[in-house]
Amino acid sequence: MNELEIIKRIAGKDENAFRELYEGTSKKVYHYLLGMLKDPRKAEDIMVDTFTEVWKCAGKFRGDSKVSTWIIGIARHLALKEFGKKKPVTNSIENHLYSLPAKNVAIDSFLRTELLRKAMEKLSFSHREILELVFFHEMSYREISDVLDIPINTVKTRVYYAKENLKQILENMGIGRDDI
């Protein structure tokens, strides 16, 4: 059954269809909320609110985007509404913990992956968020523009600068800018 059919059935209050949708999307939504809120309890509360909203508003889904994009948009909106007063959490690992003494140190592939992951954690929330929307949720720039409510050009520019910022963080960690 395709996404639109599932949504139509949910609009008709079909609980089995809802369960199917939940199983297909909940991991991604939970992952997104955990990344945003850094607190499993808060993420769980927003998950409950998000999927309840999906149940209530399935009839309003226009089909302009993927269902998962629509759900993440709802989750983001609810999370910002609930916890928006505080800035989304940026990882607090000390900046210099992983700094290496010299620049352009030769590093093996495993270590490089680890460092890159740590560098990702140090990115600002908006940069980390946009990279995740592009590469984890595989959204188009139009979908991201809808979810984040920003112009398409801002989406493209933000993705580009997120990568540049990541390279800068790597450099601060003692790894060559070009050693991604």
Partner: protein, 198 residues
């Protein structure tokens, strides 16, 4: 002005995630084929994608669905109650005819309800049995004097005062009307007095 090259560089991330249109994809591929910097961008974004996709997906706890399920069942039962009420309403002859009857009663009431006049003259009040007099006392008349005067003519107040200070008083017996009006006029406490036709 943003160059085409810069614009294409910004599309590389979306080339990597596979969401570009065929036309955009073609343009990016042409760009990658002739610009080494573009090729480097492609490698960097591919690496970032790899790292992000490698991240283990946390499993949401099972009780989350239980919580959601509880909520939607509540919502569903409310929805069904409303639906069945609407169904019963439209499905039942008794309710439908009851509604028609209630509407008919309402229409009849609105058509034939007693309408009170929105204005009246000082000598005219709605018709009732008995002898009535319209009186307006002077502004400086004390309540004690009013009471004494009404007792003297054997009348009681049945209406008023209105905004204009009009009272309707009722006399004890009809033959007393002329005398009562004369007493009221001579008292010096009233500025208007006339029989009220009710």
């Amino acid at each position: 002005m943003i160059s085409d090259r810069e614009e294409l560089k910004k599309l590389i991330a979306f080339y990597v995630n596979g969401t570009l249109s065929e036309e955009e994809k073609k343009r990016v591929e042409e760009f990658l084929g002739k610009d080494p910097e573009g090729e480097k961008e492609l490698v960097e974004f591919s690496r970032i994608r790899e790292i992000i996709r490698e991240e283990p997906l946390p499993e949401p706890p099972a009780y989350i669905y239980e919580r959601i399920s509880g909520r939607i069942r509540k919502e569903k039962s409310f929805f069904q109650k409303v639906k069945s009420l609407i169904g019963a309403f439209y499905g039942s002859r008794a309710i439908s005819w009851g509604l028609v009857g209630a509407q008919a009663v309402l229409i009849l009431f609105l058509l034939f309800r007693p309408v009170s006049p929105t204005y009246r003259t000082l000598s005219m009040t709605p018709s009732h049995q008995g002898v009535y007099i319209n009186v307006i006392f002077k502004d400086d008349t004390r309540e004690k004097d009013m009471r004494a005067l009404l007792n003297r003519v054997g009348a009681t107040i049945v209406e008023g005062p209105t905004e204009e200070g009009l009272y309707v008083i009722k006399l004890g017996r009809e033959g007393h009307l002329k005398e009562a009006i004369a007493v009221l006029k001579e008292s010096g406490s009233v500025k208007f007095v006339a029989r009220a036709y009710r």
